[in-house]
Symmetry: C2
Subunit: 374 residues, 2 copies
Amino acid sequence: MALIRMVAMKVVHGGAWSLRHGRFSAAQRAQTIRAFSSLVSPPSKAVVYENHGSPDAVTRVIELPPVEVKENQVCVKMLAVPINPSDINRIEGVYPVRPQVPAVGGYEGVGEVYSVGSAVKDLSPGDWVIPSPPSFGTWQTYIVKEQDVWHKINKDSPMEYAATITVNPLTALRMLEDFTTLNSGDSIVQNGATSIVGQCIIQLARFRGIHSINIIRDRPGLDEVQEKLKALGADEVFTESQLEVKNVKGLLSSIPEPALGFNCVGGNAASLVLKFLRMGGTMVTYGGMSKKPITVSTSSFIFKDLSLKGFWLQKWLTSDKAKECRSMIDYLLCLAREGKLKYEMELVPFDNFHTALDKALGKLGSQPKQVIKF
Amino acid sequence: MALIRMVAMKVVHGGAWSLRHGRFSAAQRAQTIRAFSSLVSPPSKAVVYENHGSPDAVTRVIELPPVEVKENQVCVKMLAVPINPSDINRIEGVYPVRPQVPAVGGYEGVGEVYSVGSAVKDLSPGDWVIPSPPSFGTWQTYIVKEQDVWHKINKDSPMEYAATITVNPLTALRMLEDFTTLNSGDSIVQNGATSIVGQCIIQLARFRGIHSINIIRDRPGLDEVQEKLKALGADEVFTESQLEVKNVKGLLSSIPEPALGFNCVGGNAASLVLKFLRMGGTMVTYGGMSKKPITVSTSSFIFKDLSLKGFWLQKWLTSDKAKECRSMIDYLLCLAREGKLKYEMELVPFDNFHTALDKALGKLGSQPKQVIKF
């Protein structure tokens, strides 16, 4: 991990190198290279933060020195990495599981094998790989990690989808599978339907013949958003204000009441998901974009027998179920290659990282997912 | 069922009998008795309501005419019946499953077999029985129902416990069993700990070696209440204001963090249960005494992986699991006979029904469970 690399460097050189300067002196670098075996990575340009805080204030792009590529390790030249909300929360220090500072940002991404250690048989330079399960520190140009970390993917995969396939699409896939048995003809309800997870849920549900009821914020350009979601396969799209009616279920035409709902907003938008659910239904919370809590009546639990649960991919990835993670990723990437799984992204050159970060932070209004291209 | 009896009467007599008058004319009664087989019940004094509304306004005690006891039926002279909050909610019309009006109040109770139909072999006059599963219309002196409705119990059972053994103690038993596997040494947390369900949970948990953390309202006579609960087996008893601290778990000495919590209050008292729960824990809501909803943070679901569910005995009694209902009742009554399951009740003569009702409605401050003795 990049963190380990940085900390190790500090120890080797008695603290002479520091993130503040961002590079070795020429003499230090020569000394470092001599200390290692013949195979070393190129220096790595990385987005690092030494303290938690607002990402635009605490992150800097610096060059990290080369590191040894040991016999079981693989050096990967990163191609593209997304800026996910959880990446931002880790930098802010509000995410419960995060690397110790100083740290390199990022958690997922796609890269190309640059060099391999002498004992590595299954990967070769030129292969496309993703860290699977994802791991910290993907926001840099070269990463050296054990070969087991890397999952070789089909090089025909669109780069931006390969870079983003785990955190959001896998969340959508698992949430559709892990909470209740859905059969063709059933339905689900979700808020935050324009999020990438939301868009994936619409499409993955549709492949299974499952109807989706989608709740979105009232916003300018509403018609266009509704059309986009319907083009992805959404059956119903409502704004929160359209649901200010006594009986939301009366708005459904031929769709059955959903047994499963997804909430990534909280507040009123979560209450609307609960209203749509059928007796005995389950709402899964996986985000809280409104920063408002979820409020539930007593009778929803007792008489409507609703269950409320949460989903956190990072925890799921540590469970037994995660053994299947790589085959799920292959499935999702296959859908992406075939154009059956789509979501909006903006590819941004690494030089413009801080502009992309500002967009991801919402400083420039609603923006597509920002994906850094190295 | 009493309801069927009343409706049937109306049909037989072309509507001449009505709840408004509360009795047959002498001629009508003679006609009725002639129309039936030789075995009929005595007239039944019953608490009835013709419309939903405030129980003290809409209930009246009237005499219902005798009814036939058919070959598979049993006539039971009721001995004692409780006034439960759900009985009140049914009369108010706010309970989702309730008898059609006009109706006789009540849902559980204990009685003595008065007479049996010619085909009844397993019950004899003098046996003590309870309707199991419970059914509507127990607030009356004589009930005629199919033999299958009645469960014969040990006559050594204390009458007031036999009358109240299903609605509250069985709820406590099922909630301890049905949501998570608890082992000796584990713990549970609950609010509303002075309720009958709360008291049963403390005792049933203690038999299993399970610690209980109990949350109660701030109230006068607090020390006495805490002592009473500790005498039942409570490990910890806190008032809501005692829990206005940053880290409630710091208040626990040697008790492990609970995996299971019970909420019958809502509002802040529910939030306190959630605070005590350990990662991955479950809170079961079975009541809402504060009439306030339950508010949950997004991170409780995602990062703490809490699950929120509900329990409703009336629904549970219609499930497959309810087959074991009668053996559970026998177990609970056995504990009651041995003095190992205790809770406060006040036995009130039927003549004082409306005073007992006022107490059950909370008009006279905090009162023990009201049990009508016929």
